[in-house]
């Protein structure tokens, strides 16, 4: 038996494959066997419900997508009542991705979170007016947000960073100092698509967030930068589509990885990737992830 489990943040995931925030919801139980996943991170939640941005909210770009969802969600209270009970039945570790427009909002929402494995703090969404990347670009604000969350929860706190920060390592260090026990690197890259028929930006908010294979080498470099310089574990996110990509992230220093846009083009990718990592380990004669990683360190 190959042991794919990973430890981080005091947790033990059965494997390193985590569904990223914002790309899936409960209907995916119709097609994915969630019990096989290492974990899932639920769509960004705010204190109050948010409508999200007007459509169009997504479009294709070369080898990827750009979105401007705007963190549409029902708010933490409705979530706790209506969604949480179902998430707890999924049979995998559940993390909540949270978003606030102020430090106070982050404090409040954190204190309302219960019955999950951990929190992922979103200071990296490019699709909102306040908070989001504006917090994640600035090490000082990143520190304060992280601290506020950590003070209001006993759950493990992961902070999800934006590649738009001028120096992502400095931001990661600030989060570590404030009590984060892991870093997710990275959220989407800010991008622009113009509708050539109107000559105007496709999205009402102009900027959108770019994800998918197009950003893989860019995101991988951020993971490499953070994991080479920061002591806490890094969860890699950005353009992962197959097990080879996952290996690249391991070798760049990631402890676990998240799958986002790939499920749009192959909803079975999470399961296929877990199967293929197992197959790879078998073929190479490795019995756990440490041995896979060691092939670089040693």
């Amino acid at each position: 038996m190959i042991d794919l489990s990973v430890n981080f943040a005091g947790l033990k995931l059965k494997n390193p494959v985590i569904l990223a925030s914002g790309v899936w919801d409960l209907p995916y139980t119709k097609i994915i066997d969630f019990k096989k996943l290492g974990g899932v991170i639920y769509k960004g939640l705010s204190l109050m419900p948010r409508e999200g941005n007007p459509p169009p909210r997504i479009t294709e770009i070369p080898c990827g997508v750009i979105n401007s969802i705007g963190l549409a969600n029902k708010g933490i209270k409705v979530f706790n009542r209506e969604v949480l009970p179902e998430l707890k039945e999924l049979g995998t570790e559940v993390f909540l991705n949270i978003f606030g427009e102020s430090i106070e909002e982050f404090s409040k929402i954190s204190s309302l979170i219960r019955d999950v494995s951990g929190i992922e703090v979103n200071i990296s969404c490019p699709n909102v007016e306040k908070g989001g990347v504006y917090f994640g670009r600035d090490p000082e604000t990143a520190y304060q947000v992280t601290k506020a969350v950590c003070e209001n929860t006993d759950l493990p706190v992961i902070v999800k960073l934006t590649p738009a920060a001028s120096d992502i390592v400095v931001v990661a260090e600030a989060c570590q100092e404030a009590g984060a026990c892991a870093i997710t690197a990275v959220n989407t890259f800010p991008g622009l698509v113009i509708d050539i028929d109107s000559g105007k930006p496709l999205f009402e908010r102009v900027v959108g967030g770019v994800s998918g294979p197009a950003i893989k080498p860019l995101a991988l470099y951020k993971v490499y930068e953070v994991s080479s310089n920061v002591g806490i574990p890094v969860i890699g996110s950005g353009g992962i589509g197959n097990y080879e990509d996952v290996l690249e992230y391991f070798f760049a220093g990631a402890t676990a990885i998240q799958l986002g846009s790939v499920i749009f083009t192959n909803p079975l990718a999470p399961i296929e990737i877990i199967d293929n990592i197992t197959k790879y380990a078998k073929e190479k004669g490795y019995s756990n992830l440490k041995e896979i990683r060691r092939c670089v360190d040693g």
Partner: protein, 244 residues
């Protein structure tokens, strides 16, 4: 149950301005219901990246058919497929509707696809059908042979389907109405058939990421906030859909 599979094209036929693709599959007829759709993509390349939402045109025991209008790169590539080429197919998706035994269908252009499929679940009715040119009108005989009265209009000759409906408003009374066509047509119809909207439904289109209620990208503005085409639709009560 939703499945994701790689399935082969077994027919590619030009049909008026569109392409009919038939895809080999023995399961869809057991799973799919009225009102639903699939998402379709190309294996073994990351470009084009996203799957494309397409309505069923019809479903047989060994295959299902799609009717495709060339719009951009994805539909262009779909139109050029050969027999034996393979596609990624995710589906069936969307909330199914319970089709009325009889009712009124209002189609504009490629909007005929889901309404043709819906008509297969009905026993009779009336079809209002508008297109650009006369030769773009498809399936008239077929509809008639299945108990439908077909009223057509073309822009090159007389006007839009909204004009046609306006001229026949009295027919709509007391009937369930199903609309599919471009946004401008839906807007116009909403104004025209205001009085009958309790019974009117519309097939909506939005750019989609996942097709499975995950990404929240296919938002349609309704009186009670945004709803999702892939999860709450594609069919919505016309009166709910908001155009402000």
């Amino acid at each position: 149950m939703v499945t994701f599979r790689i399935l082969p094209v077994i027919e590619n036929r030009v049909l008026g301005p569109y392409t009919l693709l038939r895809i080999k599959d023995r399961n869809m007829h057991k799973e799919a219901k009225c009102g639903q759709f699939v998402m379709v993509g190309f294996p073994s390349s990351l470009d084009p990246f996203l799957l494309r939402p397409l309505s069923f045109l019809s479903i047989a025991e060994d295959s299902f058919s799609l009717l495709i209008k060339k719009k951009g790169r994805g539909t262009e590539k779909l139109s050029e497929l050969s027999v034996g080429d393979e596609l990624k197919i995710l589906g069936p998706l969307g909330r199914y509707i319970i089709p009325p035994k009889s009712g009124i269908l209002i189609a504009g252009g490629i909007g005929i696809a889901p309404l043709y499929y819906q008509s297969l679940w009905m026993s009779h009715g009336i079809l209002f059908y508008g297109a650009k040119r006369k030769r773009d009108i498809l399936f008239s005989k077929d509809f008639e042979s299945r108990g439908f009265t077909v009223k057509t209009i073309t822009e090159e000759e007389r006007g839009t389907v909204a004009d046609l409906v306006r001229e026949n408003l009295e027919i709509l009374e007391g009937q369930q109405i199903f609309i599919c066509g471009p946004d401008a047509m839906i807007k116009a119809l909403k104004d025209i058939i205001g009085g009958y909207t309790k019974q009117a439904f519309v097939y909506m289109e939005r750019r989609m990421g996942c097709g499975l209620g995950g990404c929240k990208s296919c938002a349609v503005k309704t009186d009670s906030g945004y709803k999702l085409v892939c999860q709450d639709g594609p069919v919505f009560p016309l009166k709910e859909v908001s155009y402000d």
